[in-house]
Symmetry: C2
Amino acid sequence: MKFLVIGADAAGMSAASRAKRNNKNLDVTVLEKTRDVSYSACGMPYNIAVPEKAIEDLVVRQAQVFREKQGINLLTGHQVDSIDPQAKTVAGIIDTGEKFEVPYDKLLIATGGSPIVPDLPGFDLPGVLALKNLDHGRKIKAYIDDHQVKKAVIIGMGYIGLEMCESLRARSIDVAMVKPNLNFIPWMADELSGTVKEEVEANGVKLYMGHSVQKIEAATDGLSVICQDLTLDADMVIVAIGITPSSEFALQAGLETSIKKAIAVDRTLKTSDDNIYAAGDCADAYHVVTGKKTWVPLALRANRAGWAVADNVCGRHMELEGIADTAVFKVFDLEVARTGLTLKEAKQSGFDPADVVIKSRSRAHAHPGSTTIHVHLIGDKKTGCLLGAQMVGKEGVAHRINAAAVALHNQMTVERFSQADLAYAPPFGPVWDPLLTAANQLLKKM
Amino acid sequence: MKFLVIGADAAGMSAASRAKRNNKNLDVTVLEKTRDVSYSACGMPYNIAVPEKAIEDLVVRQAQVFREKQGINLLTGHQVDSIDPQAKTVAGIIDTGEKFEVPYDKLLIATGGSPIVPDLPGFDLPGVLALKNLDHGRKIKAYIDDHQVKKAVIIGMGYIGLEMCESLRARSIDVAMVKPNLNFIPWMADELSGTVKEEVEANGVKLYMGHSVQKIEAATDGLSVICQDLTLDADMVIVAIGITPSSEFALQAGLETSIKKAIAVDRTLKTSDDNIYAAGDCADAYHVVTGKKTWVPLALRANRAGWAVADNVCGRHMELEGIADTAVFKVFDLEVARTGLTLKEAKQSGFDPADVVIKSRSRAHAHPGSTTIHVHLIGDKKTGCLLGAQMVGKEGVAHRINAAAVALHNQMTVERFSQADLAYAPPFGPVWDPLLTAANQLLKKM
């Protein structure tokens, strides 16, 4: 059987590797449009922060290893243009100029996502850069070095924007961030969002909320980012306003899509075509809280979905429960984490939410070095179930959120969650873990 | 109604305070044999480490606050000698010499635990000290100062012993630890226990496993801890071989006890007498994995049980699900955590366990500062359920264990747990969280 994979990063290579481990006689081919395979995309901001590090340090496994040790037919520089689901073939062009056509029995689309670049004047100027794949990272590093970047503007204030502002500050680059929304992190409660904002500003980053970029212009000495009532000068502009699923072939091939045109897949990762799977940032997922479709392009899901596809292709039935929308990021000395629904999402999803924001400590009473932890906890008044949690703090946030994530997978009520036997020792938290304190407070409002 | 509480630490004061919050007209009296109330017992090793800190820094709330702000009749220096369940009275002696007798409608026994001190020669010598209540901590600090302690022997290698060895090393005291068992941490897999042992030894602590202490003798210059084939000299000896529930009155009053003579309570914390509750280190609990009785004297359960008693006394029905036996401790630069059953406990409880020990990393591939995390995960082959987890590492262990704890509260299978949507960002872990990697590996053995 021929198992063909389009895309050689997290989902694609997880699937290809596992398929070969499951069945070493399987014919596995991977088509990758770039020359980079299997790298840690999430590690790019941290790599960019360190000039002496090669971007290639982020490569988890070399193409050669996949080819020679694992027996995967890994073809880089292969840009797919179309899928023919009737003929079961994939066609495209190699970066050497030749065309190719490859047949498949089972196909995995793991094309990931693409950075959103607005169709506005100047976004195609040199020095206006996005960050999604390794080559983007490579270009940003080269641009900083070649142009001795001293000032940067980041358009957007999401995960990537915030990670990049820390990265650029580590290289002593002045950073201004700009976006149209007046709220800094709109999905977060003010107390939590305000803490992050303070941290970012305390690290010398200038924040301009409420400003829509209208165009970027080349200036005598760099670039000008122009809003109606604001002009920001920069040597480099990072466009970090989000990504969109790379689902073009899927749409052309007539596959069903869902939220934000992500490829619609069932719990086995199968698309609307019986022989085509999709996984990673190009595919959607079920949300364990709402039970409905969602689209959250994150690394763990991509890897896990890749494995599940491999299992299903190899005849081991594998269903994925779904995602809880758990995420964490670091920005300077803060850990920011979320799982499940925000208050707004809870309302939009038809729940009757109650919520509470509490302030607790990262270590016990009287233990030195304790810092503030903010928790926002959301529950459903109708069912009593926990719906979501968000946390901000200098320590003890990144892994703590996982307890709430597991609770969401189990449709736990806030009351039962408040009874969870969580670990306690003075260096690691108060007797009542901040999540438990939040649950205890939330119970009073349910 | 008269609500009487014996014991003014975690469980007792949690109950008294919440009862007053629930119903400010309730007549709440607390009898405490010492002069100390409401302190962080778990904080003592960290306080002892710092000579200039007063042990009273660990007091969470002053007796005066309970009396004047909360209206609790808090009587310190009141040693209870007996309970009369028929007459519904408690009798004892005040440290001024007077006798007392107090009536109750509902009684809470929250007498905690007492350190086990073997009935062997020399354990009553000056300088042979245990650590459980604040006065023990006070005595250890005073003894170190008054006798300029340079060398200490710790008998026992449990949580308290290990926390104390770090505490004493912080004061540049030479430390030797001794115990009869040949295994350093017998409930842990060798790889995990070995990591802890290396850390302790790397910090200059001498470990003597396989040696039973036969007696302690006064020497010309301090104390001699004498085993059959080993004599250890010390200025001070810490006895840390465990604690036992303080259930004497309960036994005398005819209340049922269970494991290790802990007072048997139901899920509402009620003893075998309808008007008597027990909570904290003197009481037992249900284990959420086995469904059976267990006895784990830890702070969170004590606080939570105190609250539940208050609710039940005030007519709000409150049942506690039970404990997962989750615990964490810090020893030098290591975090050591557990939840659920160990492999041995799983076998003893009648499960058919499979287990796996894996080595993962605390941060992502290519992220600086990553250190090793060991995970031991145990599942039941019959039901597929997760049974327990243990972890050791320099970072990311203390809070990570909580995800497994919540899974245990939900009788989650290893397969479902392996699908949990846990948080990922390069500074905080690999894409596949160490717990997930362990679950993926364990699945192959189930």
